[in-house]
Every structure is written in structure tokens, then in C-alpha cells.
């Protein structure tokens, strides 16, 4: 949680300094839920994180440097500059790189689970993460229904952070509670307080275990609040002040720190040391990535299919322009 928070704060400051191409999307306020999801999974499971799952990605085993490389567009990153920011992963390792279209990853997780079942690989769980806004998509409906029909070990984690970009829940859906949707698909739903780290740590492994034991798809709805803009370009002036002062608006990282101090698992001085150590680690990684090479349009193969001899070489395609940004200067 701490690593995700610190790394994202650092990336946000690089963004403000104009050092990042494209957007920056933070998981501030969602780290407890996300990290609990990542921790509840095994390395051999399937994870389709979304934009606010920086913490869950780290917990699932993504090295910090992958996130930094993707944000900074390093050629050495998993996406090599072809895709950026939150769009990263290793599909063959069950870590699916999201496309932007909300809800679209759910059925892809289903497909991986379906294939593993067909191949006779037991004990797999797939977790797909979505927001309250994504629950209104057709893909959400189709994906959850498909998982239920196939009785796949899917955990569908919904972070209800009250807003989809600027749109509040009451303009997003008309049911009393998002959890009510699950019954319509024949799916069990669990509701949790996403700001409560200990609750997240308790519930998510139990839900994952249920899916693993053959309980069919499980839905989890977590209540929380987005403690940042939709992206770093957004000041989120539309968030109702009542939310910020309500229990939903608690910072899950502070809650977690207090919970751990109460349990005497850690004291204030140790927390401070963790923070310093984490900052240093993040700064080291960023400094390293900033020295890495950018993608080079001349070395790029510009090939969208695997079968090389079927690539079309069209006379009308744009030739590589040596003045393109990022290209080596003559």
C-alpha cells in the first residue's frame, strides 16, 4: 500500500513537471482494497487490474520498475512504448493488460479460466477489477452472465468509489445497491468497507477461496471514495463535500496504519522508517528508468500481426519521419 502510494505520488509529481506523456491515474483511497485483492491471489491465478490497482499489481507480483517504465515510456518496459501508463501486463502469466474499454476485461478473464479448465489445470481463480461506472456497460453484464453460465471461478471486484469520472452513482444506476445486481445473474455478492484494511484482508481471501473451491463466480462490492481526481488532469471539484467528511472519505492508508499500531504490529517510528525507505526505493527506480532508452521509430517493426509474410506493405503508409518526437536527432 505504502509503496503504491509513494510511487504514485512521485509519478504524479513527474506528471505535473511535464515529464510524462499521456495521463496519470492514481489509486489513492483504493489501495487497501486493491492490495488485499492482489494478496488474496496466488501467482498462478489470473488478475485483470484496472486503473486504480497500482497497489494490487505490486501485491500480485509486478515489479515496481514495470509501472515506472510504462509511465515513462521506456523501451525496456513490458509495453515498450507501444502502450502506456496503466496499460501493462504479461498475458501469458495470467496478468492481463487492460484495454481502455470498461468492462471488456471480464470476459477475457473468463476465457483464461475457461481454457485452464479445458486444459485440466485445477485450483485457478481469476479476479477482474472494475469501478461503479463499468457496471453500466454491456460488457459487464455479458461477462458476469457468461461466468455464471459457465460456472467459472471468477471474482468480480467492484470498487464503488461513488463516481465514474464526474458522474455520481445516482446518474449511473437506479438499483438500491450495486450488490443487488448479483442476484440477477445467480451470483453471490459480498459487500465490504473498502476503507477498512483489516476487513479487506479478511474478506477477499475468503471470497477467493470460495471461488477456488467451486463456488462459482463471486461478486464483491466495496464502498469507498476516490481521494484524487479521475486522472491527474482533474481537480475533482465535483465531489460532494459530505462524502469527504463521511466514513467513506477516510484514507485507507491511515486506517491501515492505525489498525497495525493498535495490533502493535508496528509503531510510529517504524512506520516513518518504512516511508523513508520506500521513498528512497521509488526514487532509485525512477532515476534508473529516466536513463533508459526511449522507443526508436526506426527500430520499431511496425507489425501488428505475428505472421510476418502476411504484413501488408502499403505504398501509402506514412514513412517514418525523422522529426517525430522521440526519434534520434540528426
Amino acid at each position: 500500500m505504502l509503496l503504491a502510494r509513494v510511487a504514485e505520488e512521485k509519478i504524479a509529481s513527474l506528471y505535473r513537471a511535464g515529464k510524462i506523456h499521456g495521463g496519470v491515474f492514481l489509486g489513492r483511497g483504493q489501495e487497501a482494497l486493491s492490495v488485499a485483492a492482489g494478496l488474496a491471489l496466488r501467482k498462478s491465478d489470473v488478475f485483470a487490474p484496472l486503473i486504480r490497482d497500482g497497489a494490487g499489481r505490486l501485491a500480485f507480483g509486478e515489479p515496481l520498475i514495470d509501472a515506472v517504465r510504462t509511465y515513462l515510456g521506456s523501451r525496456l518496459g513490458p509495453m515498450r512504448g507501444r502502450d502506456g501508463n496503466v496499460h501493462r501486463g504479461y498475458p501469458r502469466e495470467g496478468y492481463l493488460p487492460m484495454i481502455s474499454h470498461l468492462g471488456a476485461m471480464i470476459s477475457v478473464v473468463n476465457g483464461v479460466l475457461f481454457a485452464r479448465r479445458m486444459k485440466g489445470i485445477p485450483d485457478v481463480v481469476g479476479l477482474a477489477s472494475v469501478g461503479d461506472g463499468a457496471t453500466s456497460t454491456g460488457s459487464f453484464h455479458e461477462g458476469l452472465n457468461q461466468a455464471a453460465v459457465e460456472r467459472l471461478p471468477l471474482v468480480l471486484l467492484i470498487a464503488n468509489n461513488q463516481y465514474a469520472y464526474s458522474t455520481p452513482n445516482h446518474r449511473q444506476f437506479a438499483c438500491r445497491d450495486l450488490a443487488d445486481k448479483a442476484a440477477g445473474y445467480g451470483v453471490t455478492c459480498h459487500t465490504i468497507d473498502g476503507t477498512d484494511f483489516m476487513e479487506c484482508l479478511r474478506v477477499l481471501p475468503a471470497v477467493v477461496a470460495r471461488a477456488r473451491e467451486g463456488g462459482g463466480p463471486q461478486m464483491v462490492v466495496a464502498r469507498l471514495l476516490r481521494l484524487c481526481g479521475h486522472g491527474e488532469h482533474d481537480d475533482a471539484g465535483y465531489i460532494a463535500p459530505e462524502f469527504k467528511t463521511s466514513a467513506l472519505g477516510r484514507d485507507c492508508l491511515h486506517v491501515a496504519e492505525e489498525q497495525m499500531m493498535q495490533e502493535q504490529a508496528v509503531n510510529a517510528a517504524e512506520l516513518e522508517a518504512w516511508r523513508t525507505e520506500t521513498m528512497e526505493k521509488v526514487e532509485r527506480v525512477i532515476a534508473r528508468v529516466q536513463r533508459e532508452p526511449a522507443p526508436d521509430p526506426f527500430q520499431e517493426d511496425w507489425r501488428a500481426i505475428q505472421t510476418a509474410h502476411l504484413v501488408e506493405v502499403s505504398a501509402s503508409a506514412n514513412p517514418v519521419d525523422s522529426r517525430a518526437p522521440g526519434a534520434p536527432q540528426p
Binding site: 513490458p78 509495453m79 507501444r82 502502450d83 496499460h87 501486463g89 504479461y90 498475458p91 501469458r92 492481463l96 493488460p97 484495454i99 481502455s100 474499454h101 471488456a104 476485461m105 471480464i106 470476459s107 477475457v108 478473464v109 473468463n110 476465457g111 483464461v112 479460466l113 475457461f114 481454457a115 485452464r116 479445458m118 486444459k119 454491456g138 460488457s139 455479458e142 461477462g143 452472465n145 457468461q146 453460465v149 507489425r303 501488428a304 500481426i305 505475428q306 505472421t307 509474410h309 502476411l310 504484413v311 501488408e312 502499403s314 505504398a315 501509402s316
Partner: protein
């Protein structure tokens, strides 16, 4: 014993299932019912657990296929009609078509689209989708016109590491017959000279190949020799074969059953004009369906798409120009 275009498609799927344990079929009503057109008839009995009925969820069908392909399986997705693939469009063009480029993980999926007009089918059961999909990088788009090609190209598609849009023409399903299925594999991306001639080249694909051949036969009686190029694959497009033909004839007519704006005929003409302008003795022409939804009534339907008659008229004009 003769084989229809539809039987060839079924036979190719049966062979793919038999030869490759990674292959499975997923689509609406493809299981015990055997598919809306019976392209998967009895396959579920021969290959239990590998021919699965899908809910009416084209988006989720395609998403599942991508997930399974990531895991190394080779899904064949049957869209009940090509027209309904628009409901799975996002997963096809944004998920399947971008996967390899983004991650270097190939995405071997065959998406079977029963398309093309048949009289009485109307606006939502008649569409030709090849141009729409060919527009997107990351997809291979095949358009077999013959029984033999339906069989060989489908097998080649299943063997390919990339997502393939396989455009089947419903008008050919039952009527088109061959004596036997071919044995040798067909290289992808190569057009076929369906008929040789020296006066005019007609470039076309799918069901329009047969209209073009009828025209060639008819104009032969008037003393013209028409060459017919069957593209087989619209993406990639075999520009070399087209150009070689135009070099022989100097005249080009492109025929497509889909709509005129953009599309395959426009692409072929653009390439010939920009890369082979000097080969042309007359301005190249094209003939497509009218720019309206596909009509239901046979009188309207027959006038909406190109036919041997309208192709012959266009060819005569071009031959005299």
C-alpha cells in the same frame, strides 16, 4: 459425391477439431442444434466438450476467445450472422486485434461470419463486414468464393497465429458444389486467377466471383476476353496479382457486394492508380451495392447488389472507353 460450401466449412472444422486438441468452437446454437446454418452439425457428438453453446453475448464470446487464445487454445467463434458481430466489435478490434502488437502474445482466433445478401433477409441478416474489419490493423480477413477455398482457407485460418475474420457467403452455402475437397494446404494472402483474359480485369471476391464469371462467359460470346481475379483474402490484399493482371489487360473493374464508401474496391483502385497508373488504358471503375441498408424484398434486393447484368453493363462501357 459432391460437397457444398457449407459442408466444406463443417468438414474443415471437424478436421481442425480432430487434428488439433487446442481447437474448440463457441457460438450461439452451435452445440446439439448444429448451428443456425448447420455448419457445426453433429460436431458436438464427435467432439464432446469442445463445441459449446454461447449465450447471446457477442462481446463476451469474443472476450472469452481472447482469454482462451492467450492460454494457447485456438477458438473458432461462430457469429450467427455477420451482422451481429457488431455487438462484439469492440472485443474484436480493440482486444483481439491489438493483443499481439501490445504484448507480443499472438491471438489465434477464427471468427466465422456468415454474411452477404440473400433475398428476404433484409437489413440485419445480409451485411458484408470485410471492409470494416480490414480497416483495423491486426486482423486477417478472408473471403472464400469456392467450396475448395472455403475448406482450405478455413484450415489455414485455424492454423494461423493471428485473428482471422472468415467471411462466409450465405448465398453459396447450399448451391455451390465441388466434386471433392482439396488435400493440399493453400498459402494465405494469394489471389487466384479464376479466368484468364486479355481485354479487361474484373477484381472481386466471395459470391461476386460467380457473377463475374458469368459475365466473362457472356461477353466471351461478344468476342471479349475477360480476366477474373478472385482476391480470396482482402487483408492482406494480393496487389501483385492484381497489378500483373492489369498489366495484361489495361482495364480494371472492381466489384464488391458491400457498400461503396471506402472498402475493398476503393482500396484496390487506389493501389492500382497510385502504383500502376501507367498500366491503365482507361479510368478504372468499380461497382458496389447501393449506399442504403440491404432491402428485404427480392425486387429491391436484386437491384441493390451488383448482378451479372449490372457487371456486364459496366464491363461493356469500360471495354468501349
Amino acid at each position: 459425391m459432391s460437397v457444398t460450401y457449407l459442408e466444406a466449412i463443417r468438414a474443415a472444422q471437424a478436421r481442425a477439431l480432430a487434428e488439433d486438441p487446442r481447437v474448440f468452437i463457441y457460438g450461439q446454437d452451435v452445440g446439439a442444434f448444429g448451428g443456425a446454418f448447420k455448419a457445426t452439425k453433429n460436431l458436438i457428438a464427435e467432439f464432446p466438450g469442445r463445441v459449446l453453446d454461447a449465450p447471446i453475448s457477442e462481446d463476451a464470446m469474443m472476450g472469452l476467445a481472447v482469454g482462451a487464445a492467450i492460454e494457447g487454445l485456438r477458438p473458432i467463434i461462430e457469429m450467427q450472422f455477420a451482422d451481429f458481430s457488431t455487438a462484439g466489435f469492440n472485443q474484436i478490434v480493440n482486444q483481439a486485434a491489438t493483443l499481439f502488437w501490445r504484448t507480443q502474445v499472438p491471438c489465434p482466433i477464427v471468427i466465422r461470419l456468415p454474411g452477404g445478401g440473400t433475398s428476404g433477409s433484409g437489413p440485419f441478416h445480409s451485411q458484408n463486414m470485410e471492409a470494416v474489419y480490414a480497416h483495423y490493423p491486426g486482423l486477417v480477413v478472408l473471403t472464400p468464393a469456392t467450396v475448395e477455398d472455403a475448406y482450405s482457407l478455413l484450415l489455414a485460418a485455424v492454423a494461423l497465429e493471428d485473428p482471422v475474420i472468415f467471411c462466409e457467403h450465405k448465398l453459396l452455402y447450399y448451391h455451390l458444389k465441388a466434386e471433392a475437397l482439396p488435400n493440399e494446404a493453400l498459402p494465405l494472402g494469394k489471389a487466384r486467377l479464376a479466368r484468364e483474359g486479355r481485354d479487361l480485369t474484373i477484381v472481386t471476391y466471395s459470391a461476386m466471383v460467380h457473377e463475374a464469371l458469368a459475365v466473362a462467359q457472356e461477353l466471351c460470346l461478344e468476342g471479349w476476353e475477360i480476366e477474373v481475379v478472385d482476391l480470396r483474402s482482402v487483408k492482406p490484399l494480393d496487389t501483385d496479382t492484381v497489378m500483373a493482371s492489369v498489366a495484361r489487360t489495361g482495364r480494371l473493374l472492381c466489384v464488391g457486394e458491400s457498400w461503396p464508401w471506402g472498402g475493398v474496391t476503393a482500396e484496390v483502385i487506389a493501389r492500382v492508380v497510385s502504383e500502376g497508373f501507367d498500366l491503365l488504358d482507361a479510368p478504372p471503375q468499380r461497382l458496389n451495392a447501393k449506399d442504403t441498408p440491404v432491402p428485404f424484398h427480392p425486387n429491391l434486393w436484386a437491384a441493390h447488389r451488383p448482378t451479372a447484368r449490372s457487371i456486364a453493363a459496366a464491363a461493356r462501357t469500360l471495354l468501349r472507353s
